[in-house]
């Protein structure tokens, strides 16, 4: 392996493109979904990058492209100095050892017929880490770490656990090999608030203790802000804004980010009712035939002729804060 340069980001994604050909029954070609189109970003060691965006904006596809399941159509993903997109199967497997994923569906991500301890041991076996005894010890350690008593939970099967517990098992599996990066695709969205808090705290604890980096995907903006150092906003397969969490939430630049932030329901009833809320109307365009130019222009209150002709590129407005908009919002 190459020696990792300290200043080199842990993960560097460049111009990632992922497309799907959709087919009807009998294999009729229906069109090409432009799920991710030219996305670039970095994640540094110990950093959490939040990704937000509405349904279908390509968040999950982005996550899967990074872990190469399936490999993206084009682009580069440099992880610890290896370009995953072009490396061989063996190298990829080696790299994946340091890169794990936690899925949205807590039950679906655990094989329903396996015992919890077997599930957690799977990566240990898969990467041949340790002997039987060492492995068993490591499994207990991991279960303890995620707050599950190995004695009472180790022999259970997923359906005997609650959603939050399942998610913790999935996390235990993800950290089993001390990865450098965990990709969380809506890892807490299906949990209710009390459990969600437990899981989020666990992530936080692992980050501070083990120095993990996260790619944290959600469409809950408040939640993303809670956990992220930097936040990227996706819209229809493209990054429209990326920047430090605080800055981005305080001074959103992209009209879409503004609309998203405005949609967050407020916990203060007196303030929430009867305010002019919505700044976004209409339906999201189809990813099969996205609009020309800026993909947000059909719903954008600030859209102008230029938006239809010219696709805006991501440009840095303030240090670390970039936006892809011809007419960024400036308060």
């Amino acid at each position: 392996m190459t020696i990792v340069d300290e200043r080199e980001p842990l993960l560097r994604a460049r111009e990632l493109v992922q497309e799907f050909t959709v087919r009807g029954r009998g294999g009729v070609k229906g069109g090409v979904v432009h799920a991710v189109s030219g996305v670039s970003f970095d994640i540094n060691v110990g950093e959490t990058l939040g990704v937000v965006g509405e349904t279908g904006s390509g968040k999950s596809t982005l996550a899967r492209s990074i872990i190469q399941a399936p490999r993206p159509k084009s682009g580069e993903v440099h992880f610890k100095g290896t370009d995953l997109v072009r490396c061989k199967r063996g190298r990829l497997a080696e790299a994946r050892r340091h890169m794990q994923m936690v899925f949205q569906d807590p039950f679906g991500s655990l094989n329903p017929r396996w015992r919890i301890s077997d599930i957690v041991a799977e990566p240990l076996i898969g990467y041949g880490a340790g002997s039987g005894g060492a492995r068993a010890r490591r499994v207990r350690e991991l279960l303890d770490l995620v707050g599950l008593n190995p004695d009472s939970y180790g022999r259970r099967r997923p359906h005997e656990l609650s959603g939050g517990q399942c998610q913790r098992v999935a996390i235990a599996r993800a950290i089993a090999l001390d990865p450098a990066l965990i990709v969380c695709d809506e890892a807490v969205s299906s949990l209710d608030v009390l459990i969600q808090a437990q899981v989020l705290n666990l992530f936080e604890q692992l980050r501070s203790e083990l120095g993990l980096s996260y790619l944290f995907i959600s469409h809950d903006l408040a939640l993303v802000k809670q956990v992220s150092d930097r936040v990227a906003v996706m819209h229809l397969g493209q990054l429209c804004e990326i920047g430090p969490a605080e800055t981005l939430y305080r001074t959103p630049l992209h009209p879409y980010t503004v609309a998203l932030l405005a949609s967050i329901p407020d916990l203060d009833p007196s303030a929430a009712r009867h305010r002019a809320r919505l700044s976004i109307h209409g339906e999201p365009p189809s990813p099969i035939s996205p609009p020309s130019g800026c993909r947000f222009r059909t719903r954008c209150p600030r859209a102008a002729a230029r938006c239809a002709d010219e696709a805006p590129v991501l440009r840095e407005i303030t240090p670390g804060h970039s936006v892809a908009c011809h007419f960024p919002v400036t308060s």
Partner: protein, 343 residues
């Protein structure tokens, strides 16, 4: 299926650019694609038949010439039949003919196979078609009634009947039907086929018992399948709850919602079933002395008339492939998710 909209959909569909839309319509593309995909399948089937047939011991020449034939006689007969050529060449020769619609001449009788198949196809086709119509025509209402009140008397009785149909061999059913409806009460003929030309009534009368013999097990199978699927829909699907929440009655929910969706599953099963039907026609045609393809196939196998066997198998394969194409098309026509899918 009844729909209540006052303006028909077809009117909208026939909007300007109809030709362009036709070419780009998923159905047309589906047909084209599937027809292309069918070619290797039929080709594969014909090759497989060729291989299988060459594995069967004995050949037509030996059978024709009898046990006392000298090797020279057999060799001469082989030459006459073209069996002396290497298999690949024989196959290619056959294929060339088949592509031009000439399936060759029977080894045993020397008659052209194409014409013979054509007239027999009509009989088997009618038999199978009638069986489908009967089985589906009965299975649907019975399954609906059974699913209307699951686990009640009607459901249980229909289950017992269905399982009887699955357990009792079709040839036993055929003989029993004849004993009752042809011998005891002379409603129907016991054997024989009356061509449509001699009156549609007589024709149907002659085909009814054979068709019922084939249809009954099918009916039972479809009933079980559809009933199960309907009950699953009624129990598990959210749109059923929506429908109930609208305040419409259980009959409407069953017919308009559950059945509509179950019908697609049924369609697949019906399409796949066609292959197994061929076994049934061989037996039933034998019992009812119907001049169909099944009868021909069995005779041809027994006389090692491989040209005829090959032709029958290919015809069956084409029919099976077409049936699947038709079900796919029906899907595309009936199931809006495909009709308007992913555009």
């Amino acid at each position: 299926m009844t729909t209540t909209e006052p303006v028909t959909d077809d009117a909208r569909e026939a909007a300007p650019g109809a030709v362009a839309r036709l070419v780009h319509s998923p159905s047309v593309r589906l047909i084209a694609r599937r027809l292309v995909a069918a070619v290797p399948i039929v080709l594969g089937v014909s090759i497989l038949t060729f291989i299988v047939l060459s594995l069967i011991p004995g050949d037509a020449a030996q059978l024709l010439l009898g046990p006392e034939a000298t090797p020279e006689q057999i060799a001469a007969m082989h030459r006459q039949m073209g069996l002396d050529q290497p298999p690949v060449q024989r196959y290619l020769g056959w294929l060339g003919g088949a592509l031009t619609g000439d399936l060759g001449n029977s080894l045993v009788s020397g008659q052209p196979v194409t014409g013979e198949l054509g007239s027999r196809l009509a009989v088997t086709g009618e038999l199978v078609g009638l069986a489908f119509v009967l089985s589906l025509g009965l299975a649907i209402p019975v399954a609906l009634l059974a699913a209307y009140k699951p686990n009640r008397l009607f459901d249980r009785v229909s289950m017992l009947v269905s399982i009887t149909g699955l357990a009792v061999a079709n040839y036993v059913i055929a003989l029993l039907l004849v004993l009752v409806f042809a011998v005891q009460f002379a409603f129907f003929p016991a054997i024989g086929f009356v061509p449509i030309g001699q009156g549609i009534g007589e024709n149907l009368r002659s085909m009814l018992l054979p068709a019922v013999s084939i249809a009954f097990p099918l009916f039972c199978f479809y009933t079980r399948f559809l009933r199960g699927d309907l009950v699953d829909q009624l129990r598990g699907e959210d749109y059923i709850v929506t429908a109930r929440a609208k305040g419409i009655g259980p009959g409407q929910v069953l017919l308009r919602h559950a059945f509509r969706n179950s019908s697609f599953g049924l369609l697949t099963v019906v399409g796949l079933n066609l292959g197994t039907l061929i076994g049934a026609t061989v037996i039933i045609e034998q019992i009812f002395a119907l001049p169909g393809i099944g009868q021909l196939l069995l005779q041809a196998i027994n006389t090692r008339d491989f040209v005829v066997v090959q032709a029958c198998v290919v015809v069956f394969a084409v029919v099976a492939v077409l049936a699947n194409l038709v079900t796919d098309l029906l899907y595309a026509v009936l199931d809006p998710r495909i009709r308007y899918g992913n555009r």
